[in-house]
């Protein structure tokens, strides 16, 4: 590991840590039950046991935020996981193969998947199987595969021309062995950075989907849906939009900063590869 | 023509070039010899006002009656490309890949007042002068379509476009093949006005220049006529340099200067060379001045 601790890494780490903390704590304790509808507490102002107030159904905002953090992280982890597990082998294959047509085919398929933005996939998937957290995760995951494949391929190409790989090939090592021993460890840092950036994008996508009604179904709290519910009351109770909005922005900012910070930490020269989502 | 007096270049707290003084007369060919890290490129860049970010120059340098150091960019840019110009080391990256070659040559002239049509015509003439084949067609080519040697000739054409009084060349042939080098050197020797030729290659200096300055550790340690300096070096560094470049008979070891070139800012006080010089003693703890007319050296224990 080279590089030094930098501001981005620290700031990003702190923000992400906050989100993770909120989610973890929510498993054990929340100020109130976020799904509990309580007409008496309708639109209650911050104060008393309701630190950030309550929404139009009387549900505690803070509790909703905390449990919403769970959803956010859950979706991010699964989506990025799918993308990494599917995209990395594809990218490495495309980078390592001597068959030009294979690489070309993989990249073309990649571009095709890329043409289906996460939102669109989620809408389509939702229409068939019913919208919800699961379909959102799968859709976002599949839509993120091209990003990982591209980054993996670019990094693999760079590794393939290094002297130690050439030596390995001259010594007769087979492709699989080279992939495991040389390629994967070296493209690891690029993939970690991409994972962080994709996580941020996944959060944005989930928020957008929930906002549109295609994400997490009620009553499970979700930051995106909280925003959508706040819209009609924007004129009277703007604070309902403030908190989920802030949560989303800070979480995304955190992952982006973390990604940048990791990039600088692991190898400043990596700045070129994979800046897109 | 060019008079440099006490030029110093520093990057932050590190002094990279110390009190360098020399002169280049009109039509004179002067070589500036040194290894990597001797400060020769920085000296040239500071004359052009093209030092990289964070690097500054102090001291005096004049071209004719005009100051070159400590002058605002606005004034300097009027001199650059017109009164003095420079050819750099790397021909592969020195040209804008998106612009046609002829346009880039013409730009040197339009920047200093010439009309576009005239500049374009003259660009073709210049390409011919640097012995590029089919100059009219070549002018419409893009840099990536040319070889390294061809690109370097284009750079030369750009440098000569406004008939400058002084041409500075910073290792112009180092990145080229040996055969191409020879042609290029011949060309430069033929077309250059006053020339400051920077290189680490002694043979090149011998073939192109009349006078030579030897630089080490950011200082000029010896200067004089090429023939004089190369046959009877006074400074111990020059002596070592020449010995190391002579072809030795079989069976004998290649003479080297012991030790290595220190990193910037880590040169010894006093004589910059004393930590590698077999003749160094206590006297060398104070820096020797450049002494002698014609053939000058800065050494307490010069060779005889």
């Amino acid at each position: 590991m080279r590089g030094r601790l930098n501001a981005g890494l620290v700031a990003g780490g702190v923000l992400v840590g906050l989100v993770v903390l909120a989610a973890l704590v929510s498993f054990v304790w929340t100020p109130h039950d976020p799904t509990l509808v309580d007409a008496a507490r309708k639109l209650r102002e911050p104060g008393g046991g309701y630190l950030l107030g309550a929404d139009k159904f009387g549900r505690d905002t803070l509790s909703q935020l905390m449990v919403g953090a769970r959803t956010t992280l859950y979706v991010g982890i699964v989506a990025v996981g799918i993308a990494a597990l599917l995209g990395t082998p594809l990218g490495v294959l495309a980078g390592m193969t001597r068959q030009g047509w294979l690489a070309e085919l993989v990249m073309r398929v990649n571009d095709l998947v890329f043409a289906f933005p996460a939102l669109l996939l989620a809408v389509m998937l939702g229409a068939v199987y019913g919208a919800g957290t699961l379909t959102a995760m799968i859709a976002i995951g599949v839509a993120t595969v091209p990003a990982f494949a591209r980054v993996a391929r670019a990094a693999t190409l760079q590794v393939m021309v290094t002297d130690y790989v050439l030596a390995a090939r001259a010594a007769g090592r087979r492709g699989g062995a080279i992939a495991l021993r040389h390629v994967l460890p070296n493209i690891g840092s690029v993939l970690i950075v991409q994972a962080s950036v994709s996580f941020a994008i996944a959060i944005l996508a989930e928020a957008a989907l929930s906002f549109l009604g295609f994400g997490t179904r009620p009553p499970t709290p979700s930051w995106g849906r909280m925003l959508q519910e706040s819209q009609e009351l924007l004129f009277s109770t703007p604070r309902l939009a403030l908190w989920p909005g802030l949560a989303i922005a800070l979480a995304v900012l955190g992952f982006n900063l973390l990604g940048d910070g990791l990039r600088d930490f692991l190898d400043p020269k990596l700045r070129r590869i994979g800046a897109e989502g | 023509m060019l008079k440099v007096d006490g030029l110093s270049v520093r990057a932050g707290s590190v002094e990279l070039v110390r009190e360098v003084s020399f002169a280049v007369g009109p039509g004179e060919r002067v070589g500036l010899i040194g290894e990597s890290g001797s400060g020769k490129s920085l000296t040239a860049l500071s004359l052009m006002g093209l030092l990289p970010e964070g690097v500054t120059a102090a001291g005096r340098a004049t071209l004719g009656d005009r100051d070159l150091v400590g002058v605002p960019e606005g004034r300097l840019k009027r001199l650059r490309g017109r009164e003095l110009s420079m050819v750099f080391q790397e021909p592969m990256t020195a040209l804008n890949p998106l612009m046609r070659v002829g346009t880039q040559v013409a730009e040197a002239m339009t920047l200093h007042g010439r009309g576009r049509r005239e500049a374009r015509a003259r660009a073709v003439e210049l390409l011919e002068r640097v012995r590029l084949p089919e100059p009219r067609q070549l002018a419409r080519a893009f840099p990536h379509q040319l070889s390294g040697g061809q690109r370097q000739r284009v750079m030369l054409a750009i440098a000569l476009a406004n008939e400058p009084g002084l041409l500075i060349c910073d290792e112009p042939t180092t990145a080229l093949d040996v055969t191409v080098q020879k042609q290029m050197l011949g060309l430069i020797a033929e077309v250059a006005p006053a020339l400051l030729f920077i290189t680490h290659d002694l043979a090149v200096v011998a073939s192109v220049c009349e006078r030579v300055l030897v630089m080490y550790g950011g200082r000029i340690v010896e200067s004089g006529a090429v023939r004089e300096v190369f046959t009877r070096p006074r400074h111990r560094y020059t002596e070592g340099l020449l010995a190391a470049s002579r072809l030795t008979p079989r069976g004998t070891r290649l003479p080297t200067i012991r030790g290595g070139v220190p990193a910037a800012g880590h040169f010894p006080d006093g004589c910059v060379f004393r930590n590698r010089c077999p003749h160094a003693d206590d006297r060398c703890e104070s820096a020797p001045e450049l002494t002698g007319d014609g053939h000058a050296h800065a050494c307490w224990h010069p060779a005889d």
Binding site: A115, M124, A207 | R82
Partner: protein, 315 residues
């Protein structure tokens, strides 16, 4: 160069066809029979069979696909199973609205990103440049709909100068049309502008380190002149490639923004279609969106090749 164009065009057509298959297959998975759904629970089997024949859903899937795709190529999107309204006109009506939304957003993004990005690059060593970088970093974290809500809050709720939603067609009232689009454009453009700023900064920084800038200065250009004349054109190349990606993201952002501001565009149509289980409509809209993205990528590829003479092939 032309060979490349032809090859690339072939890829575009092939991709569109494959996309069509994917979309069709997807929608074919939708549970329930359109005819049954249209007629309701009490329909007689004969009525259902007749309607199926009318819809064409009684034929084998391949025939249905070819029919549909062939129709698309001719511009015929078919007739909705649910509303019995022709789909083509619905799409073309709203396509214009979404296109204006997306293009306006792109313009705003460029207007923000080019000056800011260049500024950040030129000042990358001093606090001003760092500040711009930080702001753009924060800007990325804000999704378009959040920006929309924020803008509505500031301009419509507090300042009350702009409408909080709704759309007025250009033909009806140009002034109101503009006013209704201003906040949506800003929502899309500011966020994309933040993303683009980082790319512009990075591209300009790369160019600033290039040798040919030094050559330009050696000819007699000042440092700003060299950057303008030589640098920016070269920096444009990587930025243009990103623009293509951004257009795709803008398209998606537009879908969401249309919800926020209640604008009758393609996104709105799509979402309504899904909610109403209007199979053919959803197919049509998705195809349009996907084709748009593929087309944009194609154009960007071509533009990239045109801009950089190194890619044009031998003389």
């Amino acid at each position: 160069m032309t060979l490349y164009l032809v090859k690339r065009l072939a890829v575009l057509v092939a991709s569109t066809a494959v996309a069509g298959v994917v979309v069709f297959a997807f929608m074919a998975l939708l549970p329930g029979d359109p005819a049954e759904i249209a007629l309701g629970v009490n329909a007689t089997p004969e009525a259902v069979a007749r309607l199926r024949e009318q819809f064409g859903t009684d034929r084998p899937p391949l025939a249905q696909f070819l029919d549909w795709f062939g129709g698309l190529a001719r511009g015929d999107f078919g007739t909705s199973y649910v509303t019995s309204a022709p789909i083509g006109p619905q799409i073309s009506d709203r396509l214009g609205v979404t296109a204006v939304l997306v293009l306006g957003g792109m313009v705003v993004a460029l207007l923000v990103a080019v000056p800011l990005g260049t500024f950040a690059a030129v000042h990358h060593r001093d606090p001003l440049g760092a500040a711009v970088s930080a702001v753009s970093q924060a800007g990325i974290a804000v999704p378009a709909f959040l920006a929309g809500i924020l803008l509505v809050f500031v301009f419509a709720v507090r300042a009350q100068v702009l409408p909080s939603g709704g759309y007025v067609p250009l033909a009806d009232d140009p002034g109101e049309w503009l006013r209704s689009l201003l906040l949506p454009w800003l929502s899309l453009g500011l966020v994309q502008g933040a993303v683009l700023t980082r790319y512009v900064r990075s591209a300009v920084l790369d160019v600033m380190r290039e040798d040919y800038l030094r050559t330009a200065r050696a000819k007699g250009r000042g440092s700003t002149g060299a950057l303008w004349r030589h640098g920016l054109r070269n920096a444009a190349v990587p930025v243009v490639t990103v623009l293509g990606l951004q257009l795709a993201t803008l398209l998606v952002g537009a879908v969401v923004v249309e919800r926020v501001f209640v604008i009758p565009g393609l996104g709105d149509l799509l979402l309504n279609g899904v909610a109403g289980r209007d199979l053919l409509l959803v197919q049509g809209v998705v195809m349009v969106l996907v084709t748009a993205v593929l087309l944009i990528n194609f154009l960007v590829d071509v533009a990239y090749h045109l801009l950089d003479p190194r890619l044009r092939g031998p003389r």
